[in-house]
């Protein structure tokens, strides 16, 4: 297919999609173009919008691409949607989310042992918002339920993948090394694909 035409089709797909579109999904529609080509086309569209200073742009998020408005127009859009200054997550919710995001899969007890308080209510809220999901059970005594973040989590924070999570701050202080070493022994399973290089 003529690349010009293909680019226009990709544009149409991105324009209409309600969710981020992955390269695979676009490929399925176009059929002829390769992943590399599609990526190139998206790049061209991106550049076109940037150069022409369009009010919208393409972002790479949750493993796909999505068209969205630029931050400069936020106030106007909020006016249109009459959104109350958007509901943000509470600090306990964010802390719990952080613990899950960096340690997944993780059990409720493990989360509570880090936070020092119960997380049942917060966990429920996070699941209702589809930011956290049950990933299954750990094959250990009691077969406790393990939790992980969802694709929606990535979208919510504008991340393309878990690898984009901000790096955890290095523990401060002199006794850091001993503490780090000791803390490591208490953690039974570290997921291999954890973004934290420990």
């Amino acid at each position: 297919m003529d690349l010009q035409k293909a680019r226009k089709i990709v544009e149409a797909l991105l324009f209409s999609s309600q969710e981020p579109l992955s390269i695979e999904q676009i490929k399925e529609v176009l059929e002829e173009e390769s992943s590399a080509d599609i990526r190139k086309l998206i790049g061209q569209l991106k550049a076109e919008y940037d150069q022409a200073n369009r009010s919208f742009m393409i972002i790479e998020i949750a493993g796909g691409f999505q068209a969205c408005t630029r931050p400069e127009y936020a106030d106007w859009l909020r006016k249109l949607y009459k959104s109350r200054r958007s509901q943000k997550l509470s600090m306990p919710a964010l802390e719990t989310l952080a613990i899950i995001a960096y340690n997944q899969p993780v059990t409720r007890m493990e989360i509570e042992s880090i936070r020092g308080v119960g997380v049942e209510g917060v966990l429920r809220t996070l699941m209702e918002k589809d930011l956290v999901k049950i990933r299954g059970r750990r094959e250990a005594a009691g077969r406790p339920i393990i939790y992980g973040t969802t694709r929606r989590f990535l979208e919510y924070f504008g991340l393309n993948s878990l690898a984009e999570l901000p790096t955890l701050e290095e523990v401060k202080g002199e006794s850091k090394n001993e503490l780090e070493g000791a803390a490591q022994q208490d953690r039974p399973d570290r997921p291999e694909n954890s973004p934290v290089a420990q």
Binding site: T69, P71, P92, L94, A98, Y102, R151, P166
Partner: protein, 239 residues
Amino acid sequence: MAYKVKLEVFEGPLDLLLYLIKKNEIDICDIPVSEVTEQYLEYLELMRLLDLSIAGEFLVMAATLMHIKSRMLLPLEEREVLEEEEEDPRAELVRKLLEYQKFKEAAGKLEILETNKKEIFSRTVDQDTLAGDEEGEFFEANLFDLISAFSKVLTAIPRQTFQEVMVDEFSVEEKIGHILDRLKSRPRAYFKELFEHITKRLEVICTFLALLELMRMKEVIVRQPKSFKKILVIKVEKS
């Protein structure tokens, strides 16, 4: 004494401790336990006076702090003889504080990401479309139908005519896991099937509550082809 009523409300004892540490500019790795314990207890007293509910965890931490303080009061040689590990009595607490602080900071960073993301808009997704398409006409099962179905299952179980003191064998959380396991292999099941092989009323109730929880968490949806027909429980596909 006049109390300043601008009181910060803390989510838990670690939260409060970190606040005290920061406020007093204490080095986390060398906490003056006596001082911190005193301030911590003062704070709990304040909370009590203001009628704020104090979660159990705060009291556990108060006891922990006092325990650490008492250990610190022992002369060094005596301490080493009494304990197997020659560990600083504060070490465990410091570990917990540092770990929690790490995630508190991470939460702060997530908050920034959240704020930035809210400045951009894309086509919003309709929550109901996430459920996926089903064949045929379905109504969202209505709460009363669900309760009737539950009531039917419950009445099928003979009422116990004698009191029996039983160990709580079932928990809602456990039943949640149960239902999910069940739906893993076959993502659709009839409401009644979830109660197969259950002989105890308590178990029926736990299972029903688990189902309601799962609906609330949007892990499953419940559909009914027509009023009064069999109810279908469907696992929600999430990526």
